[in-house]
Amino acid sequence: MTINLLLPLLTLLLLVCPIAGCWSNYELEDRALVSGVGIDLGQNGHLLVTTQIIIPMFTHTRGGATGGAVKEPAVEVFSAEARTVAEAVNKISKLCGRELFFPHLDILIVGEELARAGVEPVVDWVNRDRELRLQTWFAVVNGTAAEALKVKKVGLESITIAYVSRILEASMRENTRALPVRFLDYFASLTENVDPVVSRIEISETGGDKMVFASGGSVFRDFHLVGWLTETETRGYLWITDQFRRGIISVPLPGNGYISVELRGNKVKRKVEFRGGNPVMVVDIAVKTNLDQVDDPLLTLENPEDLDALEVPVEEKIAMEVQASVEKARVLEADIFGFGQLIRRQYPKQWADIKDDWDLIFPTVPVETEVKVTMRRTEQISSPARPGSY
């Protein structure tokens, strides 16, 4: 009994004593927490990897003599060029003197040039490295990733790139401008033979200061960037793929006015119909909306019919967005909506016949959109306020 207890404990402890602190044991201050990674095409086919690293130290103190020091993390950007991402990461480790640590990575940005050339090296690295999470945002920037990561101060964040990921995070809940895509989604599309769409980041310059923000989406065919989606097309894409959760759109009214409506409680049904041997996509969208703002002095809302009348322009607007995205997909010849997959699931036999020619067939597949909008509330007031209405 005694020896039973002591034997393994002693052996384990004996093993521990001489070697504690070795192997995978890193002190936290020996690690560099990476918040953002950018990968660009460098020279001679090399990759330029840029990392934004969090410095967890006091950058400034607020509060005055009584103390009340506020810790504010700031970031430092390091770049290195190498044939592979892993090698470049190693070089950066040498540059900053600490082991790079990726699990807290927010976002991985690929420069446009590299994206067009193909992101295979990035994809393999992300898949293979145990420290990288599939929950990391995946975005393409309309310039170089290095530039995007070097932007000094944006939004309210001290970790600059966290701003972009916050926008994407918000887009998960409310879809207005940007397309939030994680690596997980990218791989899911890739493995299911759907042409992937990933987030897009835009760099703009206002008065000498560079700004980054997330806007629209980037369309891939396999590993290659083939084009962008505008914000309108992004929304259309979200409608068709049933990812639109909530959002506000502004719709012009006949005449000169505008209304803004909040969309929520969407139901999207997608199905394939074979008409004369050719597939036709049918997308049924049912939306519930609230009237958020009216910018039309002439509009009166007095009975239910008035409200119903407002539904029509909203329906038209949504149908327009959907058609815009379909048009773009046709132009780019990228089946970003997963129509092929839909056919495979519903009509496996027919799919077997057409799958080899799908790239050619896809642009010709008609997409029928049926939108039904229900206006539910007008919020606090009915008609807009105007002078002398009483």
Partner: protein, 518 residues
């Protein structure tokens, strides 16, 4: 050995008083507090002669005077003594003269000496080979107070005292059924400490009672200073860091455990009663759980369990998470910890170790020192360690928080405090060595060790293992009292119903209410 002892015990009184006295004095010597009060009738040499032996230090002399000496002297003087021989005279004295509440007859000299030294008064009569024993001991004991360790907000607040009689009284008042059995033993070659094995005949497992008595009778030691001695001499796993015998200072706890079918041991001179068998999860049960309604205390049980696990594994998990797996810590927290660690000269493992050491030192100092000084130590320690060390950059604030948390957690389950100091260290080293793998393997070794333990036949961590889902009603939660209608299966197998099945309170009939309204 046994034979000679038997011989010694049979060594009994003779008819001659002088010889008897000489024999007793031969054993006891002539200690200054041994008093021999001789009582003679004034009939000259023919009259009966008596000697009263008592220890002045142990006997309530006032009572002795009132109950024994006074009536005796009066009787001897008034010559209303009857009896043909010494034997009869002694009986008469005991029956009708002496007014002391307890009067016993005794023949064995050894027993007489034993009782004398325990504080009884002995009356020897000439021409008589029997002695009368009167128990009139001086009571110099603490009052019944609230135990300092096991305080409750709701529920009985009395605690056992050092005096066995008081403790027994407290227990008897809880359980008045004749089934309450008290079996006295005396243990300790020199201390001759009185020890009571207590159980309820109708409930307790006979085998368990026999086992307890068997282990107790095995004890051969010079003296018993506290029930702790007994605990350490009869426990199941002497090499284990886990205690396999429960202890409490509260009579209500002992009574409740007796009603569950356990056996208790009360020791004279110790306010701490032992109860057995003990299971691990007793550590998260307090008497108060059962005195208040069940919802709150079910929640408290879970809180205790969380703190119990933290107390056990938190330092290990902290080191494993920060040094091996920072990926599982949210980013903001990682940044905070990292900023705090920046500039700390020690590796994390060493930091946690050092700080834990300082904490334990402070705790020990606080306990041992006189109370006012102890408080000062704690305050100074808290200030210096908590604030100055962090400000000076010697320790990171997150380590301070972790250590403080463990401290709190440790106090939530006081019964396991000492154990967890050891297991914590083990897990800490393993965490530094193999990260979460190390912690897990350490926990597994600990689990295995706990699973291999038994306390008087009961598996130590029952009912969790061997799993008995029905009995879990009093482990992770505290089910309503009317659901706890059976005694724990792992303690007693027969006579398990502790209340009838339909004890759930029902609302009154409609008639009752109507009557009320009229």
């Amino acid at each position: 050995m046994k034979k000679s002892q038997a011989l010694k015990n049979s060594f009994s009184l003779v008819l001659n008083l002088k010889e008897n006295l000489a024999m007793i004095l031969a054993i006891t010597g002539t200690p200054p507090d041994l008093n021999i009060r001789t009582i003679k009738s004034n009939l000259g040499l023919k009259g009966p002669e008596a000697a009263l032996l008592f220890m002045t230090s142990l006997v309530d002399t006032e009572q002795l005077g009132v109950f024994v000496i006074n009536p005796l002297v009066k009787a001897f003087q008034e010559r209303n003594l009857s009896g043909n021989n010494g034997e009869e005279l002694l009986k008469n004295l005991g029956h009708s003269i002496i007014t002391s509440p307890t009067v016993k007859e005794e023949k064995s000299i050894n027993n007489i000496v034993k009782m004398l030294l325990q504080g009884d008064s002995i009356l020897l009569l000439d021409n008589c080979d029997t002695a009368l024993v009167m128990e009139l001991r001086a009571v110099e004991a603490r009052n019944v107070e609230e135990p300092t360790l096991e305080t409750v907000i709701r529920g009985p607040k009395e605690g056992f005292t050092e005096r066995l009689q008081t403790s027994v009284a407290l227990l008897r008042r809880k359980i008045t059924h004749p089934g309450l059995c008290l079996e006295e033993m005396s243990i300790g070659r020199f201390s001759q400490t009185r020890v009571m094995v207590v159980y309820i005949k109708e409930i307790a497992d006979r085998g368990l009672v026999d086992e307890v008595k068997k282990r107790m009778s095995r004890i051969d030691i010079d003296g018993i200073m506290d029930s702790g001695y007994i605990e350490q001499l009869i426990e199941d796993a002497p090499y284990s860091i886990f205690p396999t015998i429960g202890n409490t200072e509260k009579p209500d706890v002992v009574a409740a455990r007796l009603l569950e079918g356990r056996v208790a041991v009360l020791v004279d001179g110790s306010p701490v009663a032992l109860t057995m068998p003990r299971t691990f999860f007793e550590a998260i049960q307090t008497p108060e759980d059962y005195y208040s309604r069940s919802y709150n205390y079910s929640l408290v049980r879970i809180i205790r369990l969380i703190f119990l696990i933290s107390s056990l594994a938190l330092p290990g998990l902290y080191v494993a998470a920060v040094n091996h797996h920072p990926e599982m810590i949210p980013r903001t927290l990682v940044i905070t910890i990292s900023a705090a660690r920046e500039g700390v000269p020690f590796p994390l493992l060493l930091e946690v170790l050092l700080f834990g050491l300082i904490f334990e030192g402070l705790r020990e100092a606080g306990v041992r020192l006189p109370r006012p000084v102890g408080q000062a130590v704690t305050i100074v320690g808290a200030l210096i360690i908590g604030t100055a060390a962090v400000d000076a950059g010697l320790v990171s604030s997150s380590t301070v928080i972790v250590t403080a948390f463990i401290g709190i957690a440790g106090f939530i389950t006081p019964g396991l405090y000492e154990i967890f100091i050891i297991t914590r260290l083990l897990l800490l080293f393993l965490a530094g060595f193999l990260g979460f793998l190390g912690v897990t393997l350490g926990l597994l070794i600990l689990f295995t060790h706990m699973c291999s333990l038994r306390s008087f036949g009961t598996p130590y961590i029952s009912p969790v293992s061997p799993l008995n889902v029905k009995e879990l009603k009093d482990v992770y939660i505290r089910a309503p009292l009317w659901m706890l209608n059976t005694r724990p299966q792992f303690i007693t197998t027969d006579n398990r119903m502790r209340m009838s099945k339909d004890q759930i309170p029902l609302p009154p009939d409609r008639d009752f209410k109507d009557k009320d309204n009229k």
